[in-house]
Symmetry: D2
Subunit: 337 residues, 4 copies
């Protein structure tokens, strides 16, 4: 039985509470939030829940094995640090921290203390992403060539963070999950059409030693909602359209053996080469799988799928992207962890 | 009656011949191609057509008023130059030339000779683009904020030119047609997965003095064919999906007066603000309109829609993009015409 | 303050409880279900809720003004009848009853007792249907010509009722809501591919005195999910695609003034005549509006949108359809209420 | 070398001329049309073509082996009859004739004379239909359960024939091609919103001895163009969307082994059971394959894919449908050939 304290009961907290509560070998022993009315609302739904407005109650309690931090990003570092120092395993909402130095410090602290530190990149546990991982790992795609993501819609403008920090972490975490190659640098451009000067549109290229390339198109100012990811390999290519209710992933042949002019023209007319395969995906709630992975990683001392190293890598890419935008799109090296 | 010589009867030439032939006040007096079998094929279809394998027959003939150049891009400059020097009006297939110095020289020559020099950016005459022009000019969109184009498919790999030179001219010409602001610089990234080192995927940002931004995603290596253009204004935004058989253009409200938190949440749920308008588009063949514009511009000494200045601007952007790719995505100023 | 008893806490009951509970001038005074574990689950979520396993507690209580019946269809008649006899207003889940005689008896009883009897055809309160009602009533569509509905998917096969009784009520209720003309007869065909002989696919035509026609395509055996409704008028036509996340309704011009052959050919090429209009729809939860309508109808002695007469009409059409299927698709008159 | 006369050079004739002309072992020896200007147009395009305004020139010539009839449907019978009587093989545009007695007479005449009589149901040679034939014949689909076709758009209203005779032949011929079972009867309903009383909307069910069912939804009055065919088998189901540019056919698992309640719910959420397969289709022009089949059938004395028996069956179904519409949708037996 793992006893967990959840800190933060805002937008995502209720989902975390519901999922951890449903796990058999877990007890949510304490819920912490600064708002007593939020805590009361939680108690109505979960009878017998212990609550507190003071995070120290979580850190100091000997009953608590692990802390889940679901608070605004600027508080992640200090809360996670205190939890680790008090010997608690920690799960932090994405992004891990708002700067990479803090992320590195947390990772080193967790290693020193021999504790699990995990970031909640829930998207990694989506059925579509899990299937992409399988098709990448089992060699179906061949050598990876590119990753191209478009995540745009008419979005709620954030007050404190630009569109890349808001939207790109989902896709950047998938990129790191699917492609083991370490990225080298980024180029990013973006503009703000808002009074506060925060970019509401941005474009990000991530460069590699090999000729693999990754690109992210993020916008809060698109009249249509697009969630489209292309993953190109030397043998097969995947189109992941997250707006499709059922057929989210399609697997296509890569046209690599085109030889005669007539065959080339044929490709142009039909613009595809072979059969297409639309795999059946798991429909298990991704957040449930993430919660299970956190518990399983602690109990078995294993590295979770959504681990802190991947979370740090995402922060480092976002930091470099922000610097590149300021430097008019110039190439910016990604810090080494 | 305008008498025209057409030089080049390859992929696009037959379409030009058919369309110019159908105009009432035009006579295609001569067809030039290096291949006699191509010329014979044309004569079967168009009885009584004069043909030649020597372009000088077009330049030297006093019967010819104008020359249409539909040959490979590296020959545009020399053919157009000779035609202008012999006093002929000139229409050149896009792109105008393969470098901007040559383009400038042609423009200055045409001005000196008081001749019409036009580039065939046929796409500008598409019903959808014409409608976008109207909606931009009549103030429907308000202040323009961005232009975002995706033109990707499983394409025929070109041997001599990268994917930007192949695919981006369509959209770059539309950008210049719709937005009068002069672009300042570009950032471009791209990679080659092909042995010859020519980029088969590339991303291009065009920067402006104002906070307008334009972005182009071009690829020959996408398993799906996407032709999508977003044009964002302060009042309305347009989505142009060229893969739609009928409803190519949709006009959306821009969410600019969101004020309360509840209204913001509402936007998130429904992700649009007002009614959508799908205008009926003209279905006249764009190439017919382009041919008419060429003739009309000559006869009335007017500047055509697809004029040489716009063609040069496209070449300058492509040149800068190529340089930026070589410089690892660094900002490259666009040459002033 | 209206005090309500809810009978039945299965699939739909929790939604009804949540929505009635949220209304300001309503108190859900009693929840009745045969399962004590279901009742306990409700009490956890709604502290202080009174419950019972005996429906008589609802009928006999003087505290209760109205009864909401959300039980299996074969129990609707007896429960609604008892509630009305005890002077309670009644809301019944759709369909009203499983035969029209019972439906007529309930309507007459409610009239005699001067009580509100309402059927919960929630779909009538959907933003899309409400917009269709407005466009029909304000004359935008002109004279109505046809109604064509396709509601097919890979469905959960019902054990006791065929696909028409399962899927068609949604669309039949919309038909009755939008078109005031009284239907005359039906033709229906269908087959069973299941051992129990219950039709899993059926086609239904509803005939009218005028040349209006309505058709329903219902299937549990389609590999793809389609929810498509066409409503054709002499001036405009509506396409309602309920699978679209945002642009559910599109309004098209009807091509009625085509005159010359050339114009006709043009229609063929582009297959539409004028601009298309995609109205913004209300996103208020339909069930909330239905609950409000029930309360409002009682308090103001008005006829609700989803009234018993419409519910009866739907039952009569379904009865006639079932008879027509048995008679090899022969025309069957719809009983007059 | 097969020498062919083509009678009729209206809408479809030019396509037939072009395709037969391109075949190696065929010579189009004579073109017949009542309009000399049409004949002149053909001669411009095909130098050296013999033409006539008198069909007898085709029938009487000993040079001619076969006659292709592409004239209005009411002339098919008399022209095909004369051609057969003069010992010519005959290809007739669809539908074979406008009544089944004439169709039977032609078939018997061809048999007596030992000549090939074929109907041009071009659609049977489409890549998608050919693939459906393969998947049906090789047992992939299992036992066939249903055929459901929707063919609706804003159509050119015909003056002499209703919407079923105009649109349904395509799909009825496919039905007969894919399912060998002989249909027994039909039910059809339809209405006219046009002054001439010709049905512009119609619904047709075709009934079988087994529990196979076929349904056709045809309309000239739909604001959107839909070309959708579902073919359901006991093991797999096919969705054929002819509006898709590339992925026209998708093959789905049939959910036949659903057992537990939880599995059923899962089906509801995701509404499909297994992987989906999108086969690559041939892009050869169907008309070319049809022309080749005609020639091959004559030379090898084999029954063509688009044979007269299938053409007659389509006419018999359409005749029965028309009668059923007149009889208010009553079941009408299909005549036995």
């Amino acid at each position: 039985m793992l006893r967990i304290a959840l800190i933060g009961y805002g937008y995502w907290g209720p989902n975390l509470l519901r999922n951890f509560n449903a796990l058999e070998n877990v007890e949510v022993s304490l819920l912490v939030d600064s708002s007593t009315s939020r805590l009361d609302a939680a108690k109505v739904q979960f009878a017998g829940l212990n609550t507190s407005t003071n995070a120290n109650d979580a850190f100091l309690s000997k009953e608590i094995d692990a802390v889940v931090v679901a608070t605004p990003v600027f508080t992640h570092y200090i809360l996670a640090k205190q939890a680790l120092e008090h010997g608690k395993h920690v799960l932090v909402e994405k992004p891990l921290t708002d700067n990479s130095e803090h992320g590195i410090e947390l990772i080193e602290l967790a290693q020193k203390k021999n504790l699990t530190l995990m970031v909640d990149h829930t998207f990694l546990y989506a059925g579509a992403v899990q299937k992409m991982k399988v098709l990448t790992q089992d060699g179906t795609l061949g050598k990876l060539n590119y990753f191209d993501s478009t995540r745009i819609n008419l979005g709620l403008i954030q007050q404190d963070v630009n569109v890349l920090w808001d939207l790109a972490p989902h896709d950047i975490s998938v990129l790191g999950y699917l492609n083991a190659e370490v990225p080298v640098s980024v180029n990013a451009t973006g503009v703000s059409h808002i009074h506060n000067g925060i970019e509401n549109m941005a474009y990000l290229t991530v460069n590699y030693q090999s000729n693999f390339i990754a690109h992210f198109n993020c916008s809060w100012s698109s009249p249509v909602k697009i969630r489209l990811m292309l993953l190109g390999g030397s043998d097969k290519m995947i189109v992941f359209n997250d707006m499709e209710p059922s057929e989210k992933i399609k697997v296509y042949d890569t046209a690599h053996s085109v030889s005669t002019f007539e065959e080339k023209r044929q490709v142009l007319v039909d613009y595809r080469v072979g059969d297409v395969y639309v795999p059946k995906l798991s429909t298990t709630e991704p957040l449930k799988l993430m919660a299970e992975d956190f518990v399983h990683s602690i109990l078995n001392k294993q590295v979770p799928v959504s681990n802190a190293a991947g979370g740090l890598r995402a922060v480092q890419i976002l930091e470099a992207a922000q610097e590149s935008i300021k430097k008019s799109g110039a190439e910016v090296k990604i810090k080494m962890a």
